[in-house]
C-alpha cells in the first residue's frame, strides 16, 4: 500500500473536494467531516512519505506508467519530503479552527468554501511533490485560482485587493511559464531532472540566462519578495480569517520552496552561484526587503496588516538565506520555511480567534484581551517570541543558521538586517502586549474596574492553536535532529 503514497497524497484531496462539492448541494453538514478526513489522509501519507525518503532516499513515482522524460513523474527527495508534512499539517490545523468562522460568516456557502479549501491544499501539495516543470505551472494555477476565490470573500475592500492580487499573480505565473518555455526551446524537455541533465553545455547561452531571470522574477512576484510585494498586505488583511489562516502561512513558503527547487535541481548551484555572480546583489535586495518589511509594520495601526508586513520580511529572510550561497545559509532558508509556516499559522490562528470573538482586529479592539481571552493571548505570546527569535522556540534556530551563513559569506549587511528586524519585531509585539494587558486599567474615563468577564474562543479553535504553539517549541528543540537527518542531505555534496 505504501508505494502508492505519492498518488494518494494528491488524489485523495482532489476526489474528496469533488465529493464535498456534491455534498454542499445534498447535505451541508457532511462537508466539514469529509474535508478533515481528506486532509488527515494526505497528512498521514506525507509523513509516511517522509519516512520512506529517510529509508530509501529519493523516490520517483511514474504517473500513468510512463518513464520520466516521456510522462510526468513525481520526484520526492529530502527537500520536499520535509516540506510536505508541514504543508498538510498546517492546512489540517487551520481547517479545524475554520469550522466556527465559516458558520459565523457565510453559513450557506460552506460547501464551496471547503471545496476551494481542499482544492487549494491539493494544488499546494502537488506543487511541492511534482517533478515536472509544466505540471508545476498547472498546479500553481489551481492554488492561485482557489486562493483568489478564498481571499475575495471578506470585507468590503476584499474583492479589489484580490483583483490586484490576481493581476500580479497571473503575471508571475505567466513569467514562470515563459521561463519554462525558454528552457524547453533550448533543451527540448520538461522534466526537471532531465532539464538539469541537458543544461550544462548550454550554461553560456543567453536563452538559459533569460529563462533563469524570468523564472526568478515570476517566483519573486508570487512570493511577494520586496520590490514586488505591493499586493500582499491588502490581499491578506481584508480576507476572512479562515482563508488568511490558510494562505498566509503556506502560499509564500511554497513559492520559496519552488525557488529553492529551481536553484538546487533545475539550474544546479554551479550555474546559479558561479556562472551568474549576482547572488551578492540579491542578498542586498533581501536586506532591503527585511528592513522595509519591518519598518512598514511599525506604521500599521491594526494587527492583521502588521502581521502581513512581517510575512513580507520573513520572505526576505528566506530569499536572502537561499542566495547566500553556502551550506549554513541554505540550511537556514529550508529550516525557515518549516518554522515560518508554523509561526505564521500560530499568529494568524490567534487573529482568527480574536476576530471571531471581538469582530475587529484594529489595536483599539485589542483592549484588555489578556483578561478576556487569556489562552489565545498566551499562544500569541509563544508565537511572538518565536517570530522575534527567542531560544526555546524554532524561530531562533533558523535565524541562527541564517546569521551563521551571513557571517561565513561575509554578507554583514544581511546579518545587520536580521538583527535589526528582530529588534523591530520586539517593538511590534510588545506594543500589542501592552495594549492587550495594561490598556483597560489605564484609561481614566473607564469606570468599570472589575476585570472583564472571560470570553474565550470556542474549544475547536483553541485546540489547533495550542497544538501549533507546542509544536513551535518542539520543532525548536528537535532542530538538531531535523538538520542532521533531513536538511543535511538537501544540499548537494559539492556545496562549500
Amino acid at each position: 500500500m505504501n508505494e502508492q503514497y505519492p498518488a494518494l497524497l494528491v488524489i485523495v484531496p482532489l476526489l474528496s473536494a469533488l465529493v464535498i462539492s456534491v455534498a454542499g448541494w445534498v447535505n451541508k453538514r457532511l462537508c466539514f467531516p469529509i474535508a478533515v478526513a481528506a486532509l488527515s489522509v494526505s497528512a498521514w501519507s506525507s509523513v509516511g512519505l517522509l519516512f520512506r525518503v529517510l529509508n530509501e532516499g529519493a523516490i520517483v513515482y511514474k504517473l500513468g506508467g510512463w518513464p520520466p522524460p516521456m510522462g510526468i513523474a513525481y520526484y520526492i527527495d529530502y527537500l520536499n519530503g520535509l516540506v510536505l508534512p508541514v504543508v498538510s499539517i498546517v492546512a489540517l490545523l487551520n481547517l479545524i479552527s475554520s469550522k466556527k468562522i465559516v458558520e459565523q460568516q457565510f453559513p450557506d456557502k460552506a460547501g464551496p468554501f471547503y471545496t476551494l479549501y481542499v482544492l487549494m491544499v491539493t494544488g499546494l501539495l502537488g506543487i511541492v511533490v511534482t517533478g515536472d516543470a509544466f505540471n508545476l505551472y498547472v498546479l500553481l494555477e489551481i492554488a492561485s485560482l482557489t486562493g483568489y476565490g478564498l481571499l475575495a470573500m471578506g470585507e468590503e475592500r476584499a474583492p479589489l485587493a484580490t483583483l490586484n492580487y490576481l493581476y500580479m499573480g497571473t503575471i508571475g505565473a505567466c513569467f514562470y511559464l515563459l521561463g519554462i518555455g525558454y528552457l524547453y526551446i533550448v533543451t527540448g524537455s520538461l522534466n526537471m531532472v532531465d532539464i538539469a541533465r541537458l543544461l550544462p553545455p548550454l550554461y553560456q547561452s543567453k536563452a538559459v540566462l533569460a529563462a533563469f531571470i524570468i523564472c526568478m522574477v515570476g517566483m519573486w512576484l508570487k512570493m511577494a519578495f520586496f520590490p514586488l510585494h505591493a499586493w500582499l498586505p491588502n490581499a491578506y488583511t481584508y480576507a476572512n480569517s479562515a482563508s488568511s489562516g490558510l494562505i498566509a502561512p503556506l502560499m509564500t513558503k511554497v513559492m520559496v520552496y519552488v525557488m529553492i527547487r529551481l536553484i538546487l535541481t533545475v539550474f544546479t548551484p554551479a550555474f546559479v552561484f558561479s556562472t551568474l555572480a549576482v547572488s551578492h546583489y540579491i542578498v542586498w535586495l533581501a536586506c532591503i526587503a527585511i528592513v522595509i518589511g519591518a519598518v512598514l509594520a511599525l506604521k500599521e495601526r491594526n494587527l492583521k496588516k502588521m502581521l502581513t508586513y512581517i510575512v513580507v520580511a520573513e520572505v526576505g529572510y528566506m530569499v536572502g538565506g537561499a542566495w547566500l550561497g553556502n551550506r549554513a545559509g541554505l540550511t537556514g532558508a529550508v529550516l525557515h520555511i518549516v518554522n515560518d509556516a508554523l509561526m505564521t499559522l500560530c499568529v494568524f490562528l490567534v487573529v482568527g480567534n480574536i476576530v471571531y470573538k471581538v469582530k475587529g482586529y484594529a489595536f483599539a479592539d485589542l483592549k484588555g484581551l489578556f483578561s478576556k481571552m487569556p489562552f489565545t493571548m498566551g499562544a500569541f505570546v509563544i508565537g511572538a517570541l518565536s517570530i522575534i527569535g527567542v531560544p526555546p522556540t524554532c524561530g531562533f534556530f533558523s535565524k541562527w543558521y541564517l546569521i551563521l551563513g551571513a557571517i561565513q559569506a561575509h554578507q554583514y549587511g544581511f546579518m545587520v538586517a536580521l538583527l535589526f528586524s528582530s529588534l523591530i519585531n520586539v517593538v511590534l509585539f510588545f506594543r500589542v502586549f501592552e495594549i492587550g494587558f495594561y490598556e483597560p486599567f489605564s484609561d481614566h474615563e473607564g469606570h468599570e474596574h472589575h476585570p472583564a468577564v472571560m470570553a474565550e474562543a470556542p474549544l475547536t479553535m483553541l485546540v489547533p492553536l495550542y497544538v501549533v504553539a507546542i509544536s513551535l517549541i518542539l520543532v525548536g528543540l528537535y532542530t538538531g535532529d531535523i538538520v542532521n537527518h533531513i536538511v543535511q542531505f538537501v544540499i548537494p555534496k559539492g556545496f562549500m
Binding site: I11, L18, S21, G64, L190
Partner: protein, 275 residues
C-alpha cells in the same frame, strides 16, 4: 503610473529580445525541441495507444495528469464564480413584466402579482425587450444540431482535431445560446443550477475515478493498461478506451462549468435576469 509601466515594459522587452537572438531559427526541423522528446511521441503513439491524433494521445495518456489538473482548474473557476457571486435566493416578491402575444402590449405588474401561465401572455425580462420571434425559433432549430456537433467532437477526438475541451465548450455554448436567445429562466428551467453543479463534479470525478480505478488495479495512477483486465481487451486498445473515457469526463466537466460561470456572471448571482 504610465511612466513606471513604460520603464518596466521596455526593460522586459529588451531582456526578451536579447534572449530571443539565441533561439534556434524558427521552424527548422533540427531545433532541440523537435529532436528530443517529440520524435518519441510521433513514432510510438500508434504502437502504444493506437490513437492517430497524437495531440489527444499525449494530452490524455502520456501527460494525462496535467489534463486532470487542467479540468480541476476549470472546475475550481466554476466554484469560485458561484462562491463569489451567488446571492442565496430570498423569495422576496419581484416586479414582473408580461407581453400580450397578439397585440404586443407589455404589462408591468406590481410586486407579488402574477399572471398564471397562459398561451396569450408571455413573460419577458424587462419592458424594452423587443419581441424576437425569429431569433427564438431560429435558435430552437439550431441548438440541437450544435449539440450533435459537440458530441461528435468529443467522440471523434481520437481521429480528428477536437476532444473533451472543444466538445464540452460547444455543448456549453448551445445552452448559453438558449439562455441568450430566450431568457435565463428558460435555460435554468432546462438545466437547473443543482444539476449543473453536480454535473461539474461528476465530470471531474469520471476523470479522477478512471485514474483511481487504475490505482486499484495494482498499476500506477492513470495507467490505462490496467483497464485491460476490466475491459477484456489487449492493453493497447485499453489505453485508447481509457482516453475516450477521460475525454467524456472532461467534456461533461467543461460543459457544466461554462454554463455555471455564464449563469453566475450574466445574472450577477441573482438568477433572475440574464443577458
Amino acid at each position: 503610473m504610465r511612466i513606471i509601466g513604460l520603464i518596466i515594459v521596455v526593460v522586459t522587452g529588451a531582456l526578451l529580445i536579447y534572449a530571443a537572438t539565441d533561439f534556434p531559427a524558427w521552424s527548422d526541423p533540427a531545433s532541440p525541441a523537435s529532436t528530443y522528446l517529440s520524435p518519441y511521441y510521433i513514432e510510438k503513439t500508434m504502437e502504444e495507444t493506437s490513437v492517430p491524433n497524437i495531440v489527444t494521445a499525449v494530452l490524455a495518456d502520456y501527460r494525462g495528469f496535467d489534463t486532470m489538473f487542467e479540468t480541476t482548474v476549470i472546475f475550481s473557476a466554476g466554484v469560485v464564480c458561484f462562491f463569489l457571486l451567488r446571492i442565496p435566493r430570498r423569495e422576496e416578491p419581484e416586479i414582473r413584466y408580461y407581453r400580450h402575444v397578439l397585440t404586443g402590449v407589455t404589462i408591468q405588474l406590481k410586486e407579488g402579482y402574477k399572471i398564471p401561465p397562459s398561451a396569450d401572455f408571455e413573460r419577458i425580462d424587462a419592458v424594452w425587450t423587443p419581441p424576437d420571434l425569429i431569433i427564438k425559433t431560429g435558435c430552437r432549430i439550431l441548438i440541437p444540431f450544435i449539440q450533435l456537433f459537440g458530441l461528435y467532437v468529443i467522440a471523434h477526438g481520437h481521429h480528428s482535431p477536437g476532444g473533451g475541451f472543444q466538445g464540452g465548450v460547444i455543448l456549453g455554448a448551445s445552452i448559453i445560446l438558449l439562455a441568450i436567445s430566450h431568457d435565463l429562466r428558460t435555460a435554468v428551467r432546462r438545466m437547473s443550477e443543482k444539476l449543473i453543479a453536480i454535473l461539474c463534479a461528476v465530470g471531474v470525478s469520471i476523470y479522477a475515478g478512471t485514474g483511481a480505478l487504475c490505482l486499484l488495479l495494482k498499476q500506477n495512477f492513470l495507467d490505462y493498461s490496467a483497464l485491460a483486465g476490466v475491459l477484456h481487451v489487449d492493453p493497447i486498445t485499453a489505453r485508447s478506451h481509457g482516453i475516450l473515457m477521460v475525454e467524456i469526463g472532461v467534456g461533461i466537466a467543461v460543459l457544466a462549468t461554462m454554463i455555471w460561470i455564464y449563469n453566475n456572471i450574466s445574472s450577477a448571482g441573482r438568477y433572475r435576469q440574464g443577458l
